[in-house]
Amino acid sequence: MIELDGLTKRFGNKVAVDDLSCRVRPGMVTGFLGPNGAGKSTTMRMMLDLDNPTSGSVRIDGKHYRELREPLKHIGALLEAKAMHGGRSAYNNLLCLAQSNRIPASRVSHVLDMVGLGAVAKKKSKGFSLGMGQRLGIAAALLGDPEILMFDEPVNGLDPEGIHWIRNLMKALAAEGRTIFVSSHLMSEMALTADHLIVIGQGRLLADTSMADFIHENSRSFVRMRSPQQERLRDVLHGAGIVAAETGDGALEIDGAAPEALGELAAGHGIVLHELSSQRASLEEAFMQMTAGAVEYHAHSEREGAQPPPVGPHWGDRWTGQAGAGSGDGPKGA
Amino acid sequence: MIEAVGLTKRYGAKTAVHNLSFQVRPGAVTGFLGPNGSGKSTTMRMMLGLDRPTSGHVTIGGHAFRSLPNAPRQVGALLDAKAVHGGRSARNHLLCLAQLAGIPAARVDEVLGVVGLQDVAKRRSKGFSLGMGQRLGIAAALLGDPQVLLFDEPVNGLDPEGILWVRNLMKRLASEGRTVFVSSHLMSEMAVTADHLIVIGRGQLLSDMSVKDFISANSADFARVRVSTDRPEGREKLTASLTEAGGRVMPEADGALRVTGLGLPRISDLAHAAEVRLWELSPHQASLEEAYMRMTQAAVDYRSTADAKAGLQPPPGYGAPGLPGHVAPPPPEVPQQGWYAPPPPGQNPYAAPAAPHGPVPAAGTAPAAPADPTTRETSEDPR
């Protein structure tokens, strides 16, 4: 259990984390979401007592991090993949950590095998790829077999096999009753892994809910129906007072009705259905909706880019009429 | 157009890339997939003339990269987001690249705007987060407004907003008729971005086909059917009639049926004939991830194993009675057989099918189909 109480961090004038209070509970995977620059990393660093909070506090099982006797046995963390001395072998990097917390050396080889680095344990970590570095960082987090685990972007650089592995690992660890706290930008991963979500934006808590509630509250769900008797279906729905929207590909979308009821309705009128599926927006959409106002680095392009954008010179206008003017001519309105 | 012919690269005794031949066509986003250590980065470096092939060659538009006239105006690449001198500001970094390529300085401010870094353009890139570094790398690739673009893991470190932006950017670049070549480990991203896939494993070509073909060649789609609970015998009746019609039916935990081998209209007709009322009839496309995992199974270099916790007594506090999942959770390993077994969709209600507006269902967010034991024989590993 991790408790955050009024956690605040200021860097000069800039408030990175603003009065954040929440709890991370055991027995589930808690996802930690927020746009770049929302204060996720700062929060995680304050949890590990690497940054000093301007005010507020973090408690790990009721204790301040500095009061933990052998912290690796309570909390394991992966903050950045390459936070190891490159000139030291993977084994020795972990051995230093193990010894400082009186973890037997046999455990080091063990976690290295577990993350799939057994074969390169004696190699200097300098030559590791991002994915291997990530595995080494995960091994370090697992070293003390702690009851709390924190992962910052664990799938960065991992290949699909690794992503699949870490996903199942986190679920299994949570199922054993541990507290798993994981930040990620990959909504599709989060949707598969997390049970609970804590969302922050510009340092403030935006949401602290279960995954199901989060998606439910932040996106619309609807039922899609497809039938060879489209006209009749629409009439029947209309007759029942149900509003159906038509999509481009010949399906009907109905908001706010249960699929069971719609199935019964269609069957009652003898309408053949080729599809009757309840649709819910993805976590990604729900997240985008919630954090729309809290994004710091906006790229310059239209947000709803699902339809193919116009083909043609999109940024070239200012170049075509400008023969010979090469430099010093700042872009207008960039 | 990128063309590799018999491309081979050896480092001492280790062969990183072996006899690789493929073409990357313009007007489409081509995904480049493979496990860690399969030679993806080496291949991309050879494309850019950074590594010399031991044998074979790779050309861009008919020229080897190093003999390309005006290369930076024809090829843009993002290889490593952090390959930047940290002491230099973002703007100066791009400026020296622009000057090197004879690109007007005004273009620098333009691409900074395109990637959303205009407010931090004067800051030293040392302090950039991974996501900002990635944007800077993308800006460098776009600088020459080139015909061919190579991206190595472009969404690494980006936030969802940035991921969406990159996704749309690549589609737009391709729709303008450019050649876009993207390597990534994120199958859910690839599924919504790429049109074509090139898959390598252990330095060899495993597959070169469109995303659609790839998924259907390496996995099976299925339909999820739920019947009215008013008449419980309907379920058995429907199962019998579906099986008779040649479909395979598997029950799911929440009472739904998983049907493979029959189209949705056919299932609907059969249900109608059996006088069973349907409460759900939804199509499920197998995910790209599943298809990919099937194909590359044998070509993975760093494989994780289960945690046996040797030498450690688990500290007290977890695994206490009464906690959910206390009853022996499956070890998080990837066994050799039956290795892909995500929870049945019914247990994972949030992972509902994808964005309704997306051109392709976001495979990663859709409940991935479990490896159907009956289809395993048909979708044999290519080797």
Partner: protein, 290 residues
């Protein structure tokens, strides 16, 4: 080393072409609206100049070098002036020698860093992607670095020399003395920097290359100190004469040994060595994987 294979440069006066398809390349289906211009060595030089001026550590290194040249040169003049020691036949300008020797360490560091920092950060891959011609990159780096260090050294040594002659009377240096103590020294130091740049390109590791170059500068003198045996006397003599500090001293007619290179000879020696190293650096850049 010639300018790399690029299409013939555009006629001067109309540097930009209208955007067109397939400029010397494939019949692409996308044409950029941005005017296409074939980059040349001039662009690469502009780029390298941006690289050098936009990094603070470069400016620091150069600043330290100027301070060393000025401070050590003036301090030694001050010390000589204060001690009332007779200058005898020691040329006044030679008091700048110690500053230049220390300053040359800065030049070596900068020369190595000019190229090895690109390897350290991975920037080299971006650079070579933007300009696949290795020779153009190497030449541009060399030109910018050489001109920069040469002008700074020449100006600073000139100022130090003027101040020294103003502070101490002594024999008035002749025109040739002045030329060698400023332009000659600057040429020598800048060429030494080029040698470091070439070594940096060969070694590709900042600390390693700097250590190697400092060893090249200092080790011959240290080794010579250890050669007591008469059988090694010739070697000891050669090491003393051809060590870089004594070559540098030759520009001030203050060489530690009576024989050995004198006048402008050290410059030709270092130029020869640098040419060989540069050829090696180019071959390495051209052949080896980045």
């Amino acid at each position: 080393m010639t300018t790399p294979a690029t299409p013939p440069p555009q006629a001067p006066g109309q540097p930009f072409q209208q955007p067109q398809q397939g400029l010397g390349g494939p019949a692409g289906t996308y044409a950029s609206p941005i005017p296409v211009r074939s980059p040349g060595l001039g662009d690469a030089i502009a780029s390298e100049w941006t690289k050098i001026r936009s990094v603070r550590s470069t400016m620091w290194t150069l600043g330290v070098m100027i301070v060393l040249l000025l401070a050590v040169g003036l301090l030694s003049a001050f010390a000589v002036g204060a001690s009332d020691a007779e200058l005898e036949d020691t040329p006044v300008l030679s008091l700048g020698f110690f500053g230049v020797l220390l300053g040359s360490i800065c030049v070596i560091t900068l020369g190595v860093l000019t190229i090895s920092s690109e390897y350290g950060t991975g920037m080299i891959r971006t650079t070579l992607t933007a300009c696949p011609s290795r020779s153009r990159v190497l030449i541009a780096k060399s030109v910018v670095f050489f001109l920069l260090t040469f002008s700074i050294t020449a100006v600073t040594t000139g100022i130090v020399g003027l101040l020294q002659t103003a502070m101490l009377g002594g024999a008035t240096p002749g025109g040739d003395d002045w030329l060698r103590a400023t332009v000659g020294v600057a040429l020598y130091v800048a060429t030494l920097g080029l040698l470091s740049l070439a070594v940096g390109a060969l070694v590709r590791h900042s600390a390693g290359a700097i250590t190697l170059m400092i060893a090249v500068v200092l080790l011959p003198l240290v080794l010579a100190m250890f050669m007591f045996s008469p059988s090694l006397a010739d070697l000891q003599q050669a090491l003393l004469e051809y060590s870089i500090p004594s070559q540098l001293a030759a520009f001030y007619d203050a060489s530690v040994t009576p024989s050995g290179p004198s006048g402008w000879e050290p410059l030709w020696i270092v130029l020869g060595v640098t040419a060989v190293a540069m050829t090696g650096a180019f071959a390495s850049l051209d052949r080896r994987d980045v």
